[in-house]
C-alpha cells in the first residue's frame, strides 16, 4: 500500500521523461542554449497576479482547455495547413491559442519572447509540466505566507477577529493541501490517457501527409490509365501477311 505512490511516481516519471525528451528537444529548450528554470516561486507567473481562491479554477480549466485544444487540433488534422516537407514534427503543428496563453502565464516563456513565438503543439507536455511546477511552487509559497495573507485579506477595513482569521487560514490551508495532493496526479492521469494518442501522433501526421500525396498519385495514375488505353493500338500492328482475307 505504501509503495503505491512511489511505484506510480516511477511510471509517471518515465512517461514524463519520454514526453519531455521528445518535447523539450523539439521545443528548442535543448540544442540552442541552456535556459535556467525560474526559481520555485509564484513570482513572474499569473498566480502572483491573482488571489488564492482563483488559482484552482485558473489551473485546472487552463490545463483542460490546453488538452482539449490539443485533441481538437488532432481531430481537425485533415483541414490543417501541414508542411509535409518539414524536417521535424514541430513545424507540422503550430500551438493552439490556449497553449500559447498558458505558456505566456509562465515566467520561462514570458521572459523569452522568442520561445513564446516558437512554441508548438509538440511542446504541450513541457508547458503543462512547467505549469504544474509553478503552481505547486506558488502553493508552497502561499502556505508559508498564509498567516500574513489571511490577515491582509480583510478588505472591508473592520478589525479582524481571531475566529475569522483562523477559519480563513484553515480553509486556505485545506485548499492548498488538496491542490498539492491532486494537481500533479490529475495531470499525470491525463497524460496517461492521451499517451496512446501522443505515441501515434507522429504516425498520424505522416499518414495525413501520405493521404495528400496519395491524392496526387491517384490523379496522376488516372492520367496514366487513360494513356495506357492506347497501348493496344500501338502494339497491335497487324501486317498484310498476317491478316485474314476479308
Amino acid at each position: 500500500m505504501n509503495n503505491l505512490p512511489t511505484r506510480k511516481g516511477i511510471i509517471v516519471l518515465l512517461v514524463m521523461s519520454i514526453l519531455l525528451v521528445g518535447c523539450a528537444d523539439e521545443a528548442g529548450i535543448r540544442g540552442k542554449q541552456a535556459i535556467d528554470l525560474p526559481p520555485c516561486s509564484a513570482e513572474g507567473s499569473i498566480f502572483a497576479e491573482r488571489t488564492l481562491d482563483k488559482w484552482p479554477s485558473l489551473f485546472h480549466l487552463g490545463v483542460d482547455a490546453v488538452i482539449n485544444a490539443h485533441l481538437e487540433q488532432a481531430g481537425a488534422v485533415g483541414d490543417a495547413a501541414l508542411q509535409c516537407t518539414a524536417q521535424d514534427y514541430r513545424a507540422l503543428s503550430p500551438a493552439s491559442d490556449n497553449l500559447r496563453t498558458v505558456a505566456s502565464f509562465l515566467p520561462l516563456w514570458r521572459k523569452n519572447p522568442e520561445m513564446l513565438n516558437d512554441v508548438s503543439e509538440a511542446d504541450m507536455g513541457a508547458v503543462l509540466l512547467e505549469y504544474v511546477r509553478v503552481y505547486e511552487c506558488s502553493l508552497d509559497e502561499m502556505q508559508n505566507q498564509l498567516p500574513f495573507k489571511a490577515a491582509e485579506q480583510n478588505t472591508n477595513g473592520d478589525a479582524l477577529d481571531l475566529g475569522t482569521y483562523h477559519n480563513r487560514q484553515g480553509e486556505a490551508l485545506a485548499m492548498i493541501e488538496e491542490e498539492r495532493r491532486l494537481a500533479r496526479p490529475a495531470l499525470e492521469r491525463a497524460f496517461e490517457l492521451i499517451g496512446g494518442y501522443e505515441r501515434l501522433r507522429p504516425l498520424w501526421l505522416e499518414i495525413e501527409c501520405l493521404k495528400r500525396a496519395s491524392l496526387d498519385l491517384r490523379n496522376g495514375l488516372g492520367l496514366v490509365a487513360e494513356g495506357s488505353a492506347c497501348m493496344s493500338r500501338i502494339w497491335d500492328a497487324h501486317g498484310s501477311l498476317r491478316d485474314l482475307p476479308d
Binding site: 509503495n3 483542460d64 496563453t101 492521469r189 490517457l193 491517384r218 496514366v224 493496344s232 482475307p245
Partner: protein, 819 residues
C-alpha cells in the same frame, strides 16, 4: 507593469475558459481525470457498496451491527471511538474483541480501496492505448476512422475497401435530428435507467451494453452469439455485473435501448442502404447533455441484414472499470450476505467444427470496423516462418500470448500468360459483358473423336470445353481445350474458332485452323516439355530420326488437325511420316513424368485438378480485355483501380500483341520464330513475381514470463531459488538457522530482523517493477512499430518510384480515340 496587466487582460478577455472559469465546468479528458481523483482521494467518502459490504461482513461473521457512519469512522482510523461506545449487549462488547474486528474491517476496506485504485490505474493505461484506435463515432480520437480515408484512396474495388463475402464496410453516419421529441424521450429513458454511472451498477450497465443490447440478448446469433458467460459469472459471484441483465420492471434499460434501435431501424436513408452498408447514428451533444450521465455516449447502428444492427452504450473516455462485486444480487438466494472473493474465470473458449476457439475479443469483433482488426481475423502469412509466430494452439512457449493467428502461405496464382494483377478484385463497376468476356465450363466427353475441343462463344458469352482422351494425360488436353476457349473468349459471339468455321471457304477455314490449332498445340506441347516429357532418351531418339520435342509435337499435331475435309494442313518445317505420328501418340500415351492427373475425370475434378489448369480456367472466367478498342470501363477513381486498368492493359498487350507483322508468339514473351525455341533456355517473363511485401509483425506478448522473471529476481535477492508463491522467498528461517553463531540470541535477533531486511530488498524490486513493466511495454511497442514502419516505408518508396516514373511520361494532350 501597467502594460503587462493590459496585455494579460487582453489575453484573458479573449479566452473563454479563463474568463468564465467560475461559471462553466469543463468536461474534457483532464477534467474527468481530475474529478475521478478527487473522488478517490476523499477519505471521508467511502463508497457506499464498500461500506455495505463491511456492514454485511461484520454482521455475518461477528453479529456486529454497525451503522454506515461507524464503518466510515473505523476506516478513517477512529476504532477506539467506535469500540468504546459499544452497547453492553453487543457480542463484541469486550473492547479487545471489538478492536480486533474493527482492525480487520479496516484492513478489508483498505484492500478493497487498493484494488479499486489499481483497477482504475490499469483502466487509464488501457484507455490511453486503446482510445486512439477506437472506431466509434462521437469519441475524441479516431485514428482508425482517418486511416480509412487513405485506404479508400489506395485500395482497388468498388466498395470503400477490398471486399469479400463476410466483410461489411461502414460508409455512412447519420446525425439524428436534435429536435426529434420521440428520440429525446427515448434518450431520456435510457439516461434514467442507467442511473448513476459513477456507481458499480451504472458502470456495469455501460460496459455490459457496450457492444449492443441485441448482442447481449442473442438476437444477432448465429453470426454473433451472445457473450460467453462462464460458470463463475452468476448473480452471487464477484463477476456478477458482467453477466447482469438490466431488464427488470423497475429498470428496464434493455427495453429503452431496443426502442432506440427500433427508432433507428425505422429511419429512411437516401440513397437506400445496400447490403454492404452500415449506418452509424450520431447523437448531437445537445440531445444527450442533461439526459445521459456525463462521459456516457449512446450509439445505434443499422444494416440491411440485421447482423450488425444494434444499439448500446459506451464511454467517451473509459475511466471506470467494473469492480469486483462485493455484495450478491439482492434478488438471489446467496449463501452469505457478502461475496468472499472468487476464482479466476475459466478460459473463455467455444467448441466449433474447427476445434476449440478462443473467445477473446468476441464482443469487439461484432463491430464492423473492429472486425477487420488483427484480433478478429487470421493474419495472412506471406513469409512463412519469419513473420508469423507459432500457432497459438501448438505454442512451444507456454508463457506467450499470441495476439494473432496465421493462415498458410497462399499459392502464387498465374494465368496461362502471366499473372492477372487484379484477379481477386472486382475493381470495375460494369457487369458481365458477353461481347468481351466469357464463362467457361469444362466437361468430359467424346468431343467428336478429338481429345479436346471448344464451342464458339454463344450470345450469352458461354463456351463449352470438351475433354476426351487419347493424346497423353488428359490434363494436357484440358489445357489445350482452355486455349481454344481463350481464343473464342477474345472474339465476338459466334465468331469462327478452332473446329468451327461457319461461312468460311476451305482456304479461309484452313488459315483459321492453322492459326488457332498451332497456338493451342504449342501451348499443350510446351506444357508437356516443361513437365519433362521430352527429356527422356526415348523422346530424343524419336522416330524416323526426328526427335519428340515441343516443336515437332506442336507442328505435327497442328498439321494433322487441319488435314480433315478440304483443308490441306499447315506449314511444317519438315515432312512427318505416318509412323512418326503413331509413335509420337503412343509415346505421349505412356509417358507421364510429372504424374499429372491422367484420366479426364481426375483432370477435371476440382480436388485433383492440376493448378495450372484450374488457374487458367479461373482466369478465363474473369478475363476482360479492357484495352480493346471501343471497350468502355467504369471504375471508382482510386490508385488501386487505376493500377488495375493499367496492369490489365499491359497484360492484354503482352498476351495479344502483334508487334511484328506475320509473327505471332504463342504465349507471353515466347519467341516469334519456330527456330527460336524457348525450350533451349529459360523462358523469362512467363511468371511475373508479386512485389515483395513487408508484413507487419505482432510481437509475442509474454506477461507470464515477465511475472516469472520478477519472481525469480525477488528470490535471487534472498539468495534462494525461485519458489512458488514468491512470498516464500521473503522469509526463510533456514538462512538464519544455518549460520553458526556463538551467541544463540543473535540467531533469534537475526530471525526477527531478517524479514525487515528482506522486505526492504523486496520493496526495491516491487518499486522497480512498474518501471520495468513500462520498459517491457515500450519495447513491445517499439518492436511492432519498427516492423510496421517498414511496411509504411515500403509503401512510400513505391509511391515515390511511381511519381518519379510519372514525371518522365509525356502525357498526350487529347484522349486516345476509341476506334
Amino acid at each position: 507593469m501597467t502594460s503587462t496587466f493590459f496585455v494579460i487582460g487582453l489575453m484573458l478577455a479573449s479566452f473563454p475558459w479563463y474568463a468564465h472559469a467560475q461559471q462553466e465546468p469543463a468536461t474534457g479528458i483532464y477534467e474527468r481525470a481530475y474529478s475521478l481523483l478527487r473522488e478517490e482521494s476523499a477519505s471521508d467518502d467511502l463508497p457506499s457498496d464498500v461500506a455495505l459490504y463491511l456492514q454485511a461482513f461484520a454482521k455475518s461473521e461477528w453479529e456486529m451491527e454497525l451503522t454506515e457512519e461507524e464503518v466510515k469512522r473505523i476506516v478513517a482510523g477512529d476504532i477506539a471511538g467506535v469500540c468504546g461506545n459499544r452497547p453492553s449487549n453487543d457480542p463484541l462488547e469486550n473492547i479487545v474483541g471489538c478492536n480486533q474486528a474493527a482492525a480487520q474491517l479496516r484492513r478489508l476496506a483498505n484492500d478493497e480501496l487498493r484494488i479499486r485504485k489499481a483497477g482504475q490505474e490499469m483502466q487509464a493505461i488501457a484507455t490511453g492505448f486503446e482510445l486512439p484506435t477506437s472506431d466509434l463515432p462521437g469519441r475524441t480520437l479516431q485514428i482508425n476512422t482517418d486511416l480509412r480515408g487513405i485506404i479508400s484512396i489506395w485500395s482497388a474495388g468498388t466498395g470503400s475497401m477490398k471486399e469479400d463475402d463476410e466483410s461489411t464496410i461502414i460508409i455512412r453516419t447519420k446525425a439524428a435530428d436534435p429536435d426529434d421529441n420521440q428520440l429525446k424521450q427515448i434518450l431520456q429513458r435510457i439516461g434514467q435507467r442507467i442511473g448513476d454511472a459513477t456507481r458499480d451498477d451504472g458502470v456495469g450497465a455501460v460496459w455490459r451494453y457496450q457492444y449492443g443490447v441485441r448482442l447481449v440478448d442473442g438476437q444477432r446469433a448465429p453470426t454473433f452469439p451472445a457473450p460467453y458467460l462462464g460458470p463463475n459469472s452468476g448473480p452471487t459471484t464477484e463477476r456478477r455485473f458482467l453477466s447482469k441483465r438490466w431488464n427488470d420492471e423497475q429498470k428496464n434499460l434493455e427495453q429503452a435501448l431496443m426502442e432506440l434501435w427500433t427508432y433507428a431501424k425505422g429511419e429512411s436513408f437516401d440513397p437506400p442502404l445496400t447490403s454492404k452498408e452500415v449506418v452509424y447514428f450520431t447523437f448531437p451533444k445537445s440531445m444527450t447533455q442533461g439526459t445521459l450521465p456525463d462521459n456516457v455516449l449512446v450509439w445505434a447502428r443499422v444494416d440491411t441484414s440485421g447482423v450488425y444492427s444494434d444499439a448500446g452504450l459506451q464511454w467517451y473516455t473509459p475511466l471506470r472499470p467494473v469492480h469486483p462485486a462485493l455484495l450478491p444480487d439482492p434478488n438471489e438466494d446467496a449463501e452469505k450476505p457478502y461475496i468472499a472473493g472468487g476464482n479466476y474465470p475459466p478460459e473463455p473458449i467455444t467448441v466449433s467444427p474447427q476445434g476449440e476457439q478462443p473467445l477473446d475479443g468476441q464482443g469487439l469483433c461484432t463491430s464492423p470496423g473492429a472486425k477487420r482488426g488483427y484480433l478478429c481475423r487470421p493474419y495472412e502469412l506471406l513469409d512463412p516462418g519469419d513473420r508469423c509466430p507459432e500457432d497459438d494452439k501448438q505454442s512451444i512457449d507456454p508463457d506467450a500470448i499470441n495476439l494473432i493467428h496465421c493462415t498458410k502461405d497462399d499459392d502464387l496464382r498465374s494465368t496461362a500468360a502471366g499473372p492477372d494483377v487484379c484477379r481477386e478484385i472486382n475493381w470495375k463497376e460494369a457487369s458481365f459483358n458477353p461481347q468481351t468476356q466469357c464463362r467457361v465450363a469444362m466437361s468430359c466427353g467424346n468431343c467428336n473423336g478429338r481429345d479436346a475441343s471448344a464451342t464458339p462463344k454463344n450470345g450469352g458469352g458461354n463456351i463449352q470445353v470438351c475433354v476426351g482422351g487419347g493424346l497423353g494425360p488428359s490434363t494436357y488436353s484440358a489445357y489445350r481445350g482452355l486455349v481454344y476457349a481463350a481464343q473464342a473468349c477474345s472474339k465476338a459471339p459466334n465468331a469462327p474458332v478452332a473446329g468451327h468455321y461457319p461461312g468460311l471457304t476451305a482456304k479461309e477455314s484452313n488459315a483459321v485452323c492453322c492459326e488457332y490449332e498451332t497456338e493451342a498445340y504449342q501451348a499443350q506441347c510446351a506444357l508437356m516439355a516443361r513437365d519433362g516429357m521430352f527429356d527422356t532418351n526415348e523422346s530424343k531418339q524419336g522416330a524416323d530420326g526426328i526427335p519428340f520435342n515441343a516443336e515437332t509435337c506442336a507442328e505435327f499435331l497442328a498439321n494433322q488437325a487441319c488435314k480433315s475435309g478440304q483443308m490441306k494442313g499447315c506449314f511444317t518445317s519438315r515432312t512427318y511420316s505416318k509412323r512418326f505420328g503413331t509413335e509420337l501418340v503412343a509415346y505421349l500415351n505412356r509417358s507421364n513424368p510429372a504424374d499429372v492427373p491422367a484420366s479426364c475425370n481426375e483432370a477435371l475434378n476440382s480436388e485433383t485438378m492440376d493448378r495450372r489448369v484450374s488457374g487458367f480456367e479461373e482466369s478465363l472466367n474473369r478475363i476482360e480485355y479492357v484495352c480493346t478498342p471501343t471497350t468502355v470501363s467504369e471504375y471508382k477513381n482510386r490508385i488501386g483501380n487505376n493500377l488495375c486498368y493499367i496492369g490489365q492493359c499491359i497484360e492484354q498487350s503482352m498476351e495479344l500483341h502483334r508487334s511484328t507483322p506475320a509473327r505471332v508468339p504463342g504465349g507471353v514473351q515466347e519467341p516469334i520464330a519456330p527456330w527460336d525455341s524457348p525450350l533451349a533456355g529459360s523462358p523469362l517473363g512467363n511468371l511475373v513475381m508479386n512485389p515483395p511485401l513487408t508484413q507487419g509483425y505482432i510481437p509475442l506478448y509474454r506477461p507470464q514470463l515477465l511475472v516469472k522473471l520478477s519472481d525469480a529476481a525477488l528470490c535471487q535477492l534472498q539468495g534462494l531459488p525461485p519458489l512458488t508463491p514468491p512470498v516464500l522467498c521473503t522469509a526463510s528461517p533456514s538462512r538464519q538457522l544455518a549460520l553458526t553463531r556463538t551467541n544463540p540470541l543473535d540467531t533469534i535477533t537475526g530471525l526477527l530482523t531478517q524479514r525487515t531486511q528482506q522486505e526492504a530488498a523486496s520493496n526495491d524490486v516491487l518499486t522497480l517493477m512498474p518501471g520495468v513493466g513500462v520498459r517491457a511495454g515500450s519495447a513491445l511497442y517499439t518492436r511492432y512499430l519498427s516492423d510496421a514502419s517498414r511496411s509504411f516505408a515500403g509503401i512510400l518508396s513505391v509511391a515515390t518510384e511511381l511519381l518519379e516514373e510519372m514525371k518522365k511520361v509525356t502525357f498526350p494532350t487529347q484522349m486516345c480515340t476509341l476506334q
